[in-house]
């Protein structure tokens, strides 16, 4: 596979390490009332779609960026690649 890195252009997937569902960005608030349950879901539950999937890839053999890759799990078509940091910020994550 080839992953179009937003900063470095098309790179072979062998330069990357795969982590999984990009929902891992959405880490719950530890002080929320339902924190125990929310962390349980966060740590253990994943969608397994046959189709479009947002997933985390790490450019370990490159610039060490974490990326959110939107990939179709059936065709492997990659429709979008973003810096995970930008995605996290867009979701309201900060410090």
């Amino acid at each position: 596979m080839i992953i179009p890195h937003p900063l470095l252009g098309p790179r072979d997937s062998s330069e990357f390490v795969y982590l999984g569902d990009a929902s891992l960005i959405d880490r719950p608030d530890w002080q929320a009332e339902n924190a125990a349950e929310a962390f349980y879901d966060y740590a253990y539950l994943r969608g397994n779609p046959a189709g479009e999937h947002h997933e985390l890839w790490y450019h370990e053999g490159g610039d060490r960026s974490w990326l959110v890759v939107t990939r179709n799990t059936v065709t492997h078509e990659i429709s979008k690649v973003e810096l995970a940091r930008d995605v996290a910020r867009a979701q309201g994550r900060s410090k």
Partner: protein, 981 residues
């Protein structure tokens, strides 16, 4: 031996003669011959024995689709089994042998299987070897493995090199037949970057096999002229002997180039084969078509082959399987073979055409509406028996029979992304469907355009369309453009044994039987009968099996289904996939800066991850590793020892939020750590399980140096980047791995300060008051060399870790040894390190084993509840905090001579010994020179409250049963007085 069946003409080089061996007999050939063509030229039709029934077999085809003609090539450690004689090029001295026969090819004892064929039909082993179950592994399987099968391995290491490479192009053209050559000409002249790959050593595909002309040239001359023009174009790369084996994601194709299989000896340093990864913008599949056989009684005798293969052998290789041949066909293409062979002087016994309206020919007899119903000849064809249109029988004498059942487009690569071919009624064949791999288009016969003119034109148009070329297309030479009329004829009715898959010995009857037994899907048929599952992957047999299945089910072929294809297109040696990644290159080793010093000292090394670490340093006279390790421990605890700990992961953490960041990744607090201090840190996974531990030294308000364990250095760094970028993107913090930037040494023992004072520059006070336990700082050593000093201790002794830039590591080690002579300094390895940390009760990888929590490790209170950190919330789960949770304890044998071993389990002093009564297990064990007995670290249920209890340590596997006492894990200096000295 003379080449009795050599014909005139052809593309072999008669000016040169090669000698080769087959089954220990000498033969001659010419450059340009394959092993198959050379054997046929020498009147050798019998080449191998079949997989199951050991029936005599010869070649069926002239290409990579060959099911039968598979041989062992070369000798000694270069022996290669299961190589197709039809693609192996002959070189001077080639040594080939037939396979799967004993004692000889002409007399094979296991041919007895053929007599028992009634019992060996589809699924025979499911039915026959059902019971007793124990017999399968011990009796049935070894017998079957010996009787069935193909070639054998040399059992020696392959001495040759294999390589991998990467190439890029605008257009990859797969196949250099008429369509591929024309496509390359079109794209090449337009200036595109083109790769033209073909599995054959001669480019041209069928053009080299045909007698017709292209324009004013013969087909092969036109191919040669086109190849010459292409090879002069700098933007076109020709790759003969290169099989494109798979279409992968995003326009990436895999290809195997056989760079050294056709020469007697590889030039030094050159690889035998190269696995190419070709990155393409577009790909044009011009893979041609494969002729399909017709099944009839005894259709597997040596001498029976595809009619198109006969034509290839005659026109390209100037050879024939026999001087008198017959043709059995259902289409006009079979007649073409008869015409070409006759032109070369081969006698045509007859053309047997199943069609009542078959064309006639004045040069040979055409038997219309006739079928071959049986053949004779034990080791090679002698007669064919024909049922004529009027129902009468006629026997024809011939040494070879060409069979033509029409053509199947080679759609294999179009299926590699699960695309399904579609049925074309006019061709009675599957053609590529609409769902091709992105970027791929198909031209020529592979797309169902079976005439030569059509192939040439579609190649030119296909290339232009794929690349969006606006320029005029090259002129397409005038070529045959016969209408294609394929009426399916799959098998002759009423046969007892008509072979479909000759490599796996599957007959028409087997397919019918599997249908009768309820296997209705093509996939089930395939697995039950093994049809199409051999090394040829059913290139000449899948369609026949499918057609018979459709007939049995009373459905059309497309309703019945089709099998699709996976990579690789043809078999690839494992060595080619491995490339240069073998031995040391598969698993590179990392050496610390003082590695060569350790080697000089005679260190014994151990691999830790990729690192080589000194395990112990034996002295002359020491005969057992324990002597060395015990000495290293005693000497360190008595005076001073030095250990190379460069391999620990080191991560530099900088930024105004550095402390806040460490608060997130470590479960314990770092915000209040003073500058100049170091703290132990435990990292949890988000599920609350311990991930790694290490130390973080605060060198400045906004600067920490973090260490990780050697094994987890990469994962921890990756995890920290995840936390930084994905969870807390606005934190002002930067990370960089400095593992390789610093050489680091532990200096441990009561004299460690005195030794360090000899090398630390005098302006730095490292006395206990000025540089207390857990202190850290930037210093200089040896007169100005920058260094870092950490007062941390894994051994439990007064200890420091000192780091210098990597290039000074070797010099520092030598200096410590020299300056330490007065203290009797000892270098110690990972074994002594392990013994001392067990004596001190420090957890390491054995304890942080992916199942243990902070609580289990006795560090439950370290998990701060006042802040959020990775894993803190889930570590509070009920299930991880049961009252009888495992807790780390020390164990000591009651009888000091007894041994404790890691992996053994703890049981109550009395009661049953079984899984239900399991109380815990030992993770680390060692002989302690300090206590003079074995000791261990264990996880024990409710271990915190069980000190002094006596238990049994058992290992049913090794019949170990030792009485042990539960003690504190801190065997040595439990109050930590030495650390703070």
């Amino acid at each position: 031996m003379t080449q009795a069946n050599r014909l005139s003409g052809g593309l072999v080089d008669r000016n040169s003669t090669l000698s080769f061996r087959f089954d220990n007999r000498n033969y001659t050939a010419h450059p340009g011959d394959t092993l198959a063509s050379a054997l046929l030229a020498n009147d050798v039709r019998l080449i191998g024995r079949s997989f199951k029934y050991h029936r005599p077999r010869g070649v069926l085809t002239a290409g990579s689709e060959e099911p039968n003609g598979i041989v062992e090539l070369r000798t000694g450690n270069r022996q290669e089994p299961n190589t197709r004689a039809t693609t192996a090029e002959v070189y001077e001295g080639l040594d080939a042998r037939s396979q799967n026969r004993w004692p000889s090819l002409k007399f094979d004892a296991l041919a007895i299987n053929d007599r028992f064929s009634n019992f060996l039909t589809a699924g025979f082993y499911y039915k026959t070897f059902m019971w007793p179950a124990a017999f399968w592994e011990k009796l049935y399987e070894p017998i079957i493995r010996k009787a069935a099968g193909l070639g054998s391995l040399s059992m020696e290491d392959d001495p040759d090199e294999y390589d991998k490479g990467f190439r890029h192009c605008d257009l990859l053209i797969i196949g250099a037949g008429p369509a591929g050559l024309m496509a390359a000409l079109t794209a090449g002249r337009a200036g595109s970057e083109v790769i033209l790959a073909d599995e054959d050593f001669a480019l041209g595909g069928r053009l080299n096999s045909e007698s017709f002309s292209l324009g004013d040239d013969s087909a092969s001359d036109w191919a040669a002229a086109t190849v010459a023009e292409l090879s002069a174009l700098p933007n076109v790369r020709l790759m003969p002997r290169t099989t494109v084996i798979g279409a992968f994601d995003h326009g990436i194709y895999g290809a195997v180039e056989r760079t050294g299989d056709h020469v007697a000896a590889l030039p030094a340093g050159k690889p035998r084969q190269i696995l190419w990864r070709i990155y393409t913008k577009r790909a044009l599949l011009c893979a041609g078509a494969t002729e399909r056989p017709i099944a009839f009684e005894n259709n597997d005798r040596p001498g029976i082959m595809l009619a198109s293969a006969m034509r290839t052998y005659a026109n390209r290789f100037a050879t024939t399987a026999a001087q008198r041949v017959a043709i059995f066909t259902n289409n006009d293409d079979g007649h073409r073979t008869a015409i070409d062979l006759r032109a070369k002087g081969v006698k045509i016994a007859a053309v047997i055409d199943v069609r009542d309206d078959a064309p006639i020919n004045y040069d040979f007899e055409v038997l219309k509406g006739a079928q071959v119903v049986d053949t004779k000849g034990r080791l090679g064809l002698t007669f064919v028996e024909v049922a004529l249109a009027d129902g009468s029988r006629r026997v024809l004498e011939c040494g070879a029979l060409g069979v033509s059942g029409g053509w199947n487009p080679n759609v294999h690569l179009t299926c590699h992304h699960r695309g399904r071919p579609v049925w074309n009624d006019d061709l009675a064949a599957f053609v590529p469907g609409g769902d091709l791999p992105p970027g791929m288009t198909v031209a020529g016969a592979a797309n169902g355009t079976l005439s030569t003119h059509g192939a040439l034109l579609s190649g030119a148009e296909g290339a232009a369309k794929a690349l969006g070329l606006k320029c005029a297309l090259p002129d397409v030479p005038e070529a045959e453009d016969a209408a294609i009329n394929q009426t399916p004829f799959w098998y002759v009715k009423g046969c007892a044994r008509a072979w479909l898959d000759q490599q796996n010995d599957v007959t028409v009857k087997d397919v019918k039987l599997s249908h009768q037994e309820g296997f209705r899907s093509v996939e089930h048929l395939k697995r039950y009968t093994t049809l199409g599952m051999a090394t040829d992957q059913g290139k000449t047999s899948n369609m026949g099996g499918l057609a018979i299945m459709a007939e049995m089910a009373g459905k059309s072929i497309p309703e019945t289904g089709t099998t699709i294809f996976r990579p690789p297109y043809t078999p690839v040696p494992i060595a080619t996939f491995g490339g240069r990644m073998k031995g040391q290159d598969f698993h590179p080793t990392r050496l610390t800066p003082s590695h060569y010093w350790a080697k000089e000292r005679g260190a014994v090394f151990i691999e830790v991850g990729n690192w080589l670490r000194a395990q112990w340093f034996p002295l002359p006279g020491e005969t057992h590793w324990r002597e060395s390790v015990d000495r290293e421990v005693r000497q360190t605890r008595a005076s001073v020892g030095v250990c190379d700990c460069t391999t620990l992961g080191k991560i530099d953490v900088q930024g105004t939020d550095a402390a806040a960041f460490l608060n997130k990744v470590y479960c314990n607090g770092f915000a209040k750590l003073a500058v100049g201090k170091t703290r132990y840190g435990l990292m949890l996974r988000e599920d609350g399980i311990a991930m790694d531990d290490g130390t973080a030294a605060r060198l400045a308000e906004d600067h920490f140096v973090v260490t990780t364990t050697t094994a987890n250095a990469v994962n921890v760094y990756r995890h920290m980047e995840f936390v930084r970028q994905c969870l807390f993107p606005d934190m002002d913090v930067q990370l960089i791995s400095t593992t390789e930037a610093w050489a680091q040494y532990a200096v441990a023992g009561p004299n460690s300060r005195k030794l360090l004072q000899k090398i630390v520059d005098p302006e730095f006070d490292i006395s206990n008051d000025a540089f207390p336990f857990m202190g850290c700082g930037n210093i200089t050593v040896c007169g100005g060399l920058r260094a870092r000093l950490f007062r941390i201790s894994f051994s439990g002794e007064l200890a420091f870790e000192i780091a210098v830039p990597s290039r000074y590591g070797d010099a520092l080690m030598r200096r410590l040894m020299r300056d330490g002579e007065e203290f009797d300094v000892v270098p110690y390895g990972t074994e002594a390190l392990g013994v001392m940390r067990i004596e001190k009760g420090h957890a390491a990888g054995n304890e942080l084993n992916g199942t243990t929590t902070a609580l289990n490790l006795g560090m439950g209170r370290m998990v701060s509840k006042k802040k959020d950190s990775i894993g803190s919330t889930l570590s509070e789960r009920e299930g991880l905090n049961e009252p009888d949770a495992l807790m780390m304890v020390g164990i000591k044998p009651v009888n000091a001579d007894d041994k404790v071993t890691a992996g053994a389990h703890l049981m109550d002093a009395s009661g049953p010994v079984d899984a239900q009564h399991d109380q815990g297990y030992v993770t680390s064990a060692a002989f302690s020179p300090s206590l003079d007995c074995h000791i261990g670290l264990a996880f024990l249920k409710n271990g915190g409250a069980r000190q002094g209890e006596r238990m049994r340590l058992v290992s049913p596997l090794t019949e170990e049963n030792v009485e042990v006492e539960i003690v504190s894990a801190h065997f040595v200096d439990p109050e930590g007085e030495r650390l703070r000295a």
